[in-house]
Amino acid sequence: MNRRDFIKTAGLTAAGASLLPGCTPVGDDKFEQALYPAPEGIIPGEPIYLSTTCMECPANCGVSAKNVDGRTIKLEGIIGHPINDGGLCVRGQATITRLYHPKRYKSPMRRTRNGDFDAITWEEAYRSVWSALQTDKSGGRSSVYLSSRTTGSLSTFIDRFCAALGVSRLPELEVFSHSAVRQANQTVFGHKAIPTYKIDRADFLLTVGADLLETFVSPVEHATKISKGKDTGSFWWTHVEPHISIEAMSADTRLACKPGTEAVLLGYLLQQFGGSVSGQGPIEASSVVEQVGLSEESLTKLVQRMREARRPLVIAGGVSVQHEKGLEVAVLAAQLQKQLGSAAEVMDFNSAYNYDNVGSLLDAEVWTKKLNAGEIGVIFVSKTDPALTLPKPLGFAEGFKKATLRVGLSEISNKTLDECDIILPLSHFLESWGDAEPRKGLRTIIQPTREQLFNTKSEGDILLDLLQTAGKPRPKNFRAFIESEWARLGTPLTPDIMKAGFVATAAAAAKPAAGPATGAGASPVAAGAAASVAASATPPHPAPLQVSFADGLSAQLEGDVLVVTPSLRFYDGRSRLLPLNAQGATLLEEIPEPVSTISYGEWISVRGWQDVTGEFVRGLDQIEITLGETRLQPLALKLQPRLPDSVYMVERPFLVAPDLGIDRRTGEPISFSPNLKWRGAGIIPVAVMSGSPSQEGRGIIPNAVETPGEEAAAHHKSQRMDGIVASEPELPGEHEERLTLYPEHVHQPYRWGMTIDLDKCTGCSACVAACYVENNIPLVGKDAHLNGREMSWIRIEPYFDGEARGDFIPMLCQQCDSAPCEPVCPVYAAYHNPDGLNGQIYNRCVGTRYCANNCPYKVRRFNWINYEWESPLDQMINPEVSVRGRGVMEKCTFCVQRIRAGKDHAKDENRLVRDGEIQPACVQTCPSDAIQFGNMLDENSKMMQARKTDRAYRVFESLGTEPAVTYLADVTKEDEVSIGNA
């Protein structure tokens, strides 16, 4: 080989070696994207925000969808929105994974004989549906339309569609129909409706079972208003319930009552305030103590607080109205409210929630009977899952099979849709036109925030097409219909409205007892089933139920009682999606349920103290429960501190068609099952993320240590926020002044910091979901969680310490000034940036994991494998945040991409960043406004101002890490668990 040949060969080899890796598909998308011109009006890389409405649950929060390069990547609450004012809950944050779900329906489908689905065209689908509808007409069967709660133009249009094609519209199906509350309000206030609760106007809030922050009507709104109430300085929240929930852990006073006894307490209170309980003599405090299980002291305190309050508010709901005496609870709560005299100030029926079309389970009973009798031919099922939610005795599953054509409308499959014959794939609300009217006097707009991902259509457009197939007149498209509707209602869709996302119209004063009744929504009261209730049987304007309390106030639930609770993460089950990726993960399951800290798995909670040796996977016996006729699938048994004795707690979505019965008067599902029979067998692993229910006196939440009063006082006395010198070093508390070899960090002009108010934090986990979506955190699935390899950058830690209390603390990177992670990194991947952030340079990281070992807060996360973002999930990747590869460490950055953007923006305008201009994702979404972010060098920033309280402390102060995150201790907690203290 001569010299030239050698150089040629060497050159070719080198070129080949360097080119080959370039042939892998990594990065192709980016390359292509750069070649295509951007769509009109879109500046590449520049985000645009589109206002729309979240349809994940009936609350209909206003959301602003962030769209970058034509891809919707993040939802945020609309600031100033009458419902959620900037906040968004965990489900709302996670709904984007529904949009980009790889298993979404991608085209219309028809069921084949062997049960699979074949893709068909829209034309074929429409023709099948239309011919079946005609067959129904000739065959004397009725066709029905079943949907979950709809409002606004869609509801109007469904009515129009049904009328045109002779389809009868069933009362809308919502398990959480709040029908007991609505009926009680009809009885007491003359409005069969749920008012807007002006919690922020109240100075005392008594909630009885109402899961205000989870599923009760409008959780984000309630969280926002409770936070505003707390800002007034005179606000006290007492929560009564038979189990434990995030409300119990967030309220100022938690009273745990024996299951089914809420009415006794309310009756007592009513009498204390001069009301009378018909059919009942005076209720003695001692009998309340005995029956409800509260101490005399807490009862006195409760009455005293209510007396002192000027605008008390009483809300009953949730599981407390879902037992045999549920209606009594609801009615007594309403009567108490009326008796207290503040109803007009704290309840607003003029802007009542739009539940008029929502039926109860009694309505479902009527139409499931028809189904079973074979009277129904075509059944449309739109965005609801009766196979999961309806009680088994209703026989939905069997009846559904008897329908001649089952047409399912949904984005993604569920139990009911799996049984349908024709699937009409729905567009996600982020890609369709629509509107909503969550409550009277508020109309919100739904507009597409990106192109259609698949061959799907909005519900309105599908119905419109069906009208066309049937040869009926129809609007041009659903958008045109909405525009005409808004014009008809006097608020034409102007660009301003489109930008704001909502319009508040002056609501006409609601006339008592004149609310439009549901179509078939009259509650048929079975004669004799409830002798104490007399109801007029003349739909559609039923007279209010007359409730007498002669039969007693307690539901008499004996023995071990199972409580079926609503689910913070899955609502009634609708938010529990199919697995998203190869790891079998979903975003909402990736986030632990905050009280039990279980992420993946189905479990029953029972009172007990989790082993403190620090294990992810509690041994967790398997438990088999028999309810009525049905034996439940085996569930894991979770020991739950602070759960009252002999109460078993399970989330509703874990039970398929739960067979607990229906309240014959209200149509509420019964959520209690007394005399529980169960047997344990085997072990089911579920991922329990907490290593210990106790903080072992480490002062992570200082007021929650064994002796709360003294400890907190001592702690606050010694607290100094400049954090250098401690007057009296103690553990946990201050650290002594330390000598250092290294120069102090100089931060100018910014040092970012955070203040988290634990009094406001409710553990709702919205911040966790927001963080996942904002920062492209991989969803790692159950196996990884069982192995302790979760990737969350922020987590909600519950601790149960002291006599009987529980509290949440959000834990995230503390961005220490003297960070233990920084000096140990051998390659400077962990470094201190000029703004005081602990930066992490992914492409420098070699993966020694020393930083994670040395982090006392344990917030660093290692990428154990490469996580794939299966198409189209890859489209929800935030382009401003790197997707981390295998072998590198990652952690919270205070959303450095947002800080960067904010600083750049300020620099363009030749100024410093304004206070509040930059908001990390967790801060932005927090419905309770518990987290403040800002510049620590700016004494006037909201964040620094919030710190100026004796509640301020930093976690593990004694370690001298100088965290930038300051917590405000919650010092107002009172807690009483009725039956013994765990």
Binding site: T613, G614, R849, K858, F862, I865
Partner: protein, 415 residues
Amino acid sequence: MLKPTKWYFFGLVLALLAFTGLLVTWVHMIFSGMHLSGKNNPVGWALYITNFVFWVGIAHSGTLISAVLYLFRARFRSRFNRAAEAMTLFAVMVAGLFPLIHLGRVWFFYYLMPYPNQRQIWPNFRSPLVWDVFAVSTYFTVSVIFWYMGLVPDLAIARRRTTGIARWVYRVLSLGWSGSSTQWRPYNKLYGLLACFATPLVVSVHSVVSWDFAMGIVPGWHTTIFPPYFVAGAIFSGCAMVLTIMIPMRKWFKLESLITIEHIESLAQMLLLTSMIVAYSYIIELGMAFYSGNIFERAQFMYRMGGYYATLYWIMIICNCVIPLSIFWRKARRNLTWMFFLSIFVNIGMFLERFNIIVQSLSHEFEPYAWGRYHLTYTDVFITIGAFGMFFMLFLLFAKTLPVLPIWEVKEETH
């Protein structure tokens, strides 16, 4: 240079298989991810770092025996020193592998080296891991030179006894050694000098390794006692490993006349001394945890003694502190079978000591919510077995090709 028996080949093949297992699982892990090892969020270091510390510890006795005892003119040294030095070398080679194995992105291992680059990024000299890089590489270099210097006269002897290609190799390696007094005089000087140079390394290397832990703030790691404690532990485990190897070797290679019971006894006494230092350290550690009033430290040691891994803690105490006490008994320390098993116990105990320090501390740190456990995986087990495989493979190859005893020193002593 005896003809190898079939047992030799059997052992070699076994060791080779184990080593291959290490390579295969490691390569698999490089291509698949660190999830194959049982580590997780609180426990970021586990069996690989345990192995690293263990093997660095093993390495220590080699230098101790060859250099320190040389300077002290301890006569029993000459019977062990070649094997001990080889052990050092191979143990450092094995140990050096583990920081690489445990890296999340081993393909960027060179980021830890200070090399000039256009980005002007240097390693973080404040990080104990960078100190490790220097400590271990220095140690390896010095050990190689020291070992090789000791070998040169023996290689010359081997050159005389072999033929063909082997003879040619030995000739090159013996650097023209003729054994003349003009060569011996500077040679002895150099050897003494190297011994002086190597001696501080005995203390420094394991001190640096201990700083990997002591410099961290993890309860159970962050103590000033670590350097002496680790050095004593290293010598302890190293002496045990020398016994584990020399007792069978003495029998198989029929070296009874050269390595006498008295020699073994001296080593056993060394073992006893270091065992007691280690036991003292354990007591101090506990004392500090409870005396200091630091709740994190206290919780950590309560966890060690009564937590999930408590069994391992107590096995460690028995192996390291209780069983070696039998050396006090003359009959026991002259019983080779007992000494062999004792050395095995000490090896187990010292391996567990490192495991306890690393895994237990990490699984029970400051944040109770984040407490968690480490569980063994097949990958971890294969890699650990492979480490032993690699060590014994190298040692067996060495025993076949090079003199296991320093012939010239033994001659010097016996003449």
